[in-house]
Amino acid sequence: MEQIILLIPGLPILSALLTQLLGPCLGRRVARLSVIGTLLTFGLSVAALWLVLTGQQQTTVSLFGSGVFLLLDPLSTLMAVVIAGISLVVHVYSLRYMAEETGYGRFFVLLDLMTATLLVMVAAGDLLTLLIAWHLVGVLLYFLLGQNTRDVSAYRYAFWTNITYRIGDLPLLIAAVLLYQAYGTGSLSILFEQINTNPGTHQVLGWPLMDVVAALIALAAFARSAQFLLHTWLPYSMSGPTPVSALMHAGIVNAGGFLINRFAPVFVHSSEILHWVFIVGLFTAVIGSVLMLTQNDIKKSLGYSTMGQMGFMIMECGIGAFSLAIYHLIAHGLFKGTLFLGAGNVIHAARGDDGVPKEDLYTFVVERRPIRQRLPWRLMAAITLAVPIAILVAAHWLVAEDYFQKQSAIVLLFFGWITGAQLIFTTYRMQTRNLRRLITLSIFSFAVVVLGYTLISHAFDLFLYPDPAFREQIYAAADFDLFWFDLLIGLIALVIIFGWVITSFSDQNGNHKGQFRRRLWLSFYALVSREFYLTDLYTRFSRALLAFAGRLNLWLRWI
């Protein structure tokens, strides 16, 4: 029965082959073959997940006795369902969306190959298979993004994606080689077993092997998941077809979270790396969200939103909430895929009528009209303090008695608090006729999000990491030094309090901004709207490198 894991990526490969071979005979109808193949793949993935849910033990399956191994375990089956499901939706959507495009058959062949590669990637049971699949995802994405071969700019941005992914492939390659050299096996299950029994004896350049490998894997995850400094490709990859954007944002860009989860046994034995993962994720989440707010193009805005979400997902890994990161990438994949596939309709509909009622919310958000009457700020400030405390107590009662001692949970709660405080800041600045309804809705949605996250995190933890000792190890590896932890929590609390002080101050001054503040704000806005000049910097660097290469050729007489 465990052979099912071989069939899951095997079906889309077969479908790609048939689509390519029968394309000349069947014409555009050949795409239906591809859809049927993906539907069957989805069915098999669900069956595999069901097997695992009903007690099937983790197994490594060899492909016809070869050196290719696939893993049948909770992580691989869960990810397979997500990938096959999203791929199925993208396939069905593309049937009509791509109908007018040239290279219709090629598109479905590439889509099938991408689905198969992603499925192999999540189920890879050995280092070599993982490396091959990880590398191939970037190559296939390059050609999918460049589906329209007439569009030079689409290829330019597809290249940005490809080169960033290649930058991310190389640390993973070196990490895999280091692990293989140290433990003499490529099989992931044997490797993790050996790491657990003997983690600390190997060194690389004087550093512990586990730290070096964890850092390299984290780097690979950063490049794949568009973390800050390796993110510039993401918003520009929108030049590709919309179904590819949906697939990319729903199933490819979030592979960083998967990779960190797959190598959880390595991260457990590393010392400081998860803290760096947390910092990079946090920074990316903030920068991505800020950049998203300044975009006026819906697809680019969604691209930056993905960057922010990926930052949050990586940050969750950094605090040891590995399984929560998996939940996050699934949830994000589903809602972002939906948003992308619906983006075209929204643009089309907005051309006729934007459909936004010209009520208070519209005049406040769109027309930026000042408001006449506000909610009492003291009440709102009190809510931002009371709700997290209530949730903390509820979590303590519902989830675990030692909840107060779980640093990661507290950090997440604080971020939930920031989000909630932001919501309440916005609510405070809005005019309303029904105060009680607005406050109730704010608190309810805030509570649902934070409590939902807490409970779902717990459920995913139990499914993906059933061994309680290992779960504890993950959280322990992510634990901050108490001083830094208190400092972080204090800082976040100060930011929120500062926000309310500023709000109160502005309220008393009738929202009048001084010239200095106005200039400061405009400079900041210019910086953000130019995306911190990072794209310009990279473009200049690559142009300089190409010019240097050209000059070298000239000096060396082209030989």
């Binding site: 070869s66 070599l128 080169i163 293989y180 240097f548 050729n553």
Partner: protein, 252 residues
């Protein structure tokens, strides 16, 4: 005696500036068959000569080999001529054989590695000759949009370039993997440089492809590969993949 011997070998297993010799000869070769022979035989001569020496490789060779590989990979970024591009990629790839030589790789495996690097370059030499026949020059950015005008040729060209830049399943991928493995044994920083060279290959490959296959076509009426030629190229590529998976990669 040792240094002159290694300098002679450095002509065939390229070490800068001796590497310029191969590119000079390749550039002067007007016939496709001659280019193919050069691409196939040149590194094999170097390996055969290496066998005759019984002294260990001197310490200065590895840094020079890494420099050569990186230099030619970097220079390939700014090339537009397909023939020159294949010469520079060959130089960069063969220079990396010095890293494999340092490890516990047998001489037979080294010959196979050299062949694995050369084989896709041979296919590119044939395709380059095809471009010259059709357009008078195998030059990127000159005509573009080949996907529309000659789709079969473009598909083969894409796969051949992917094979050259060490994309998974092709033998070059497994050779590079083995090279990184040897480099880690030597010193992890050497592995980083090898990985950097690999990255430059990917960049160079993408630039070459974008200059040929992307954009609106302005080459109407150009004849595409016939079915027989397409089949022959496809067979060559399948053999490469099989060689990568079964032979060098040892996966199957």
């Amino acid at each position: 005696m040792q240094i002159p011997a290694y300098l002679l070998i450095g002509l065939f297993l390229p070490l800068f500036p001796l590497s310029m010799g191969f590119n000079f000869v390749l550039g002067r070769s007007r016939y496709a068959l001659l280019r193919i022979l050069l691409l196939l035989i040149w590194p094999q001569i170097g390996l055969t000569l290496l066998q005759t020496l019984d002294s260990p490789v001197p310490d200065w060779v590895v840094p020079l080999a890494l420099f050569t590989a990186a230099l030619y990979a970097l220079r390939a970024l700014a090339l537009r001529d397909v023939g020159q591009w294949s010469g520079f990629l060959a130089t960069s790839a063969w220079a990396l054989l010095w890293i494999a030589i340092q490890g516990d790789v047998t001489i037979l495996q080294l010959h196979l590695f050299a062949l694995g690097f050369s084989a896709p370059l041979v296919l590119l030499a044939l395709l380059g000759a095809g471009l010259e026949r059709r357009f008078g020059a195998a030059y990127t950015g000159l005509y573009g949009g080949l996907t529309e005008s000659i789709p079969r040729f473009s598909a083969i060209l894409v796969l051949v370039v992917l094979a050259i830049i060490a994309t998974p399943l092709f033998p070059t991928f497994f050779i590079m993997l083995a090279t990184v493995m040897q480099a880690v044994t030597l010193m992890p920083l050497v592995a980083v440089v090898v990985a950097f060279v690999w990255l430059l290959w990917s960049w160079a490959g993408a630039r070459l492809l974008q200059g040929l296959i992307v954009g609106p076509t302005n080459a109407e009426g150009i004849f595409d590969l016939n079915r027989l030629a397409t089949g022959a190229y496809a067979l060559g590529l399948i053999l490469l993949v099989a060689g990568g998976l079964y032979g060098i990669g040892g996966l199957l």
